[in-house]
Symmetry: D3
Subunit: 135 residues, 6 copies
Amino acid sequence: MTQHHHSVGESRLERGRRALAEIDGEAGEKVLASLADIAPDFASYVLEFPFGDIYSRPGLDLRAREIATIAALTAMGNAAPQLKVHIEAGLNVGLTHDEITEIIMQMAVYAGFPAALNGLFAAKEVFARRPAPRR
Amino acid sequence: MTQHHHSVGESRLERGRRALAEIDGEAGEKVLASLADIAPDFASYVLEFPFGDIYSRPGLDLRAREIATIAALTAMGNAAPQLKVHIEAGLNVGLTHDEITEIIMQMAVYAGFPAALNGLFAAKEVFARRPAPRR
Amino acid sequence: MTQHHHSVGESRLERGRRALAEIDGEAGEKVLASLADIAPDFASYVLEFPFGDIYSRPGLDLRAREIATIAALTAMGNAAPQLKVHIEAGLNVGLTHDEITEIIMQMAVYAGFPAALNGLFAAKEVFARRPAPRR
Amino acid sequence: MTQHHHSVGESRLERGRRALAEIDGEAGEKVLASLADIAPDFASYVLEFPFGDIYSRPGLDLRAREIATIAALTAMGNAAPQLKVHIEAGLNVGLTHDEITEIIMQMAVYAGFPAALNGLFAAKEVFARRPAPRR
Amino acid sequence: MTQHHHSVGESRLERGRRALAEIDGEAGEKVLASLADIAPDFASYVLEFPFGDIYSRPGLDLRAREIATIAALTAMGNAAPQLKVHIEAGLNVGLTHDEITEIIMQMAVYAGFPAALNGLFAAKEVFARRPAPRR
Amino acid sequence: MTQHHHSVGESRLERGRRALAEIDGEAGEKVLASLADIAPDFASYVLEFPFGDIYSRPGLDLRAREIATIAALTAMGNAAPQLKVHIEAGLNVGLTHDEITEIIMQMAVYAGFPAALNGLFAAKEVFARRPAPRR
């Protein structure tokens, strides 16, 4: 896991593309591709602001950033596709199955048991495709 | 920062009380005290389930747990008092001002700029009382 | 507690006014009065749809209807003034302090502990003004 | 696009039926039909309050009203079927594909990127069935 | 419908298992079973806190508790699977089809028409499998 | 009301600053100033993405954009300060008191009566400071 420090002369778009590839991998590419015919500018915004600006900031490592995102999307409970992408992203940046499960279970406290249950079922689906070794 | 492993013979209530003291400190005690005349059983539930069960689990350290909670409460945007308690808890378990600011800013991506702004203003209020040294 | 059956020849507005008076009492009147200079038509809609149509339907008694409303407003967590009006309405239609406290505590399961805590603090404020005898 | 001024002697139900037909078209009829066996009264309420009362008010044209509704349903993110009905309604009252896309993209600012993404995917599905000419 | 008073010597887990069986029946068992391979501890928490602690409290009967839960889950609008489980639970503890329909329709007032519509469609699906006699 | 077309050579930050001044006026400046000591980078992001990117896009005029924002913030119901800023912004870009009131009332349909009531009370507060002539 490397931190996305800004490279000299790199544009936000390039930096975002690099961050997206490392964090979201193929799942992120698919989301962008599906925007091509309806809102191509929005694909650029996704690369530039979340990935080129926020995830590339040095003050917090990607592991911590994915903990935050998985927690938030589980708690909000209205963005299942994005939660799955970020459960996978969590695995990409070094979180284990068990750590992701802990984060989601904890959301029962803040957003209720249904939000946690639906988060766990999303994780189950992702883990089935990505049977990472448990630490 | 120590992990709340279960001590032999310790009840959930005792374990929760120990975890609450370490994580939320005085702010947590005040919340419990304010429940005494309306719902004393709920004060026990708060100690037992969130603190005695969830925060005491060994699979995720308290730093990671507070990242998750600060992110979720910022994103949900409807629990300002609890967000402030957990920004303070984040400081208690070792997060810096800058790290907490990073977590909250990131929520602009997932829950919109108003949620992030209101989270930052909550942090500003807590930081004014708790001028922790920045790393 | 009487059920708001439709009286012959009574308009939705009249029926709503009668239901509002019984359920929300003075707190409801204040809400309507505060709309007079900004959106007087909305005051009519409040009387007509929620009170003239919904609360006047015979299929569910007012006690059950207030259980539903207190639960929903606690769970949503973004309408504190209306939650207080309906905690008072609950007392008006025969719910006890303890029953209202039970409903709100239960919301910890579905909407998280912060929502339940904020609901309990709203109830505490209303109960202080309305020290009804506990059963 | 005509404004739904009140016709003399027209009931709220008739006015609502006329507004629903113009705004939601066939999609609206299907929703009402699907209520027939479970909650026929609710079908009347849908016609009477949203369409007979609100959408028939003269102070805001239907184009503006659909901008508001598409924005709100995208931002809330928990009512996909209704969002699709109103994306179609937006086309019915004169919004272009591009204008609807702009509204939804803007919601990234207020409700986060996942809400905007899910709104764009809903629009993509509707636009595929309704390939209206872009201005 | 019996109230879940605490039996002497019964653990929270046992009490929760008994409450779950009475309230949620088979649907509850399926949820727990689906947690076995991803988060078995969370299945225990579901039994212990919501069912062993909250639903087993004597201050509110199960009929009132299910009114509250159906209302909250309809209003929140982001937990369709859990709403269906609790519509079925409502039937299990004595609510009629018509009463459940009333509760859900009322949520149009507090959470908007889309939330109520989606709640009614969830109920329609459950009622089709559980054609209980109307009172 | 002018549209924020991109000027040659203008940076996103400059474009955003110009758009913010026109749309939010002094209220926007105050928000940015209050970020200076806690998260100065976030002040730049606010200027760059919402204002420099989104509000500066030519496909939708500012009047339509503020209709969308007022609707969304009213419906979400958890960002009162930002709603007030955008009610004022709506006046700045040419919406009348009555049009803003219509947008907010309409949200009763999609997000419930409490959300609309709280939106109306926010508008009342802003209108008292900004007694614009009604059309």
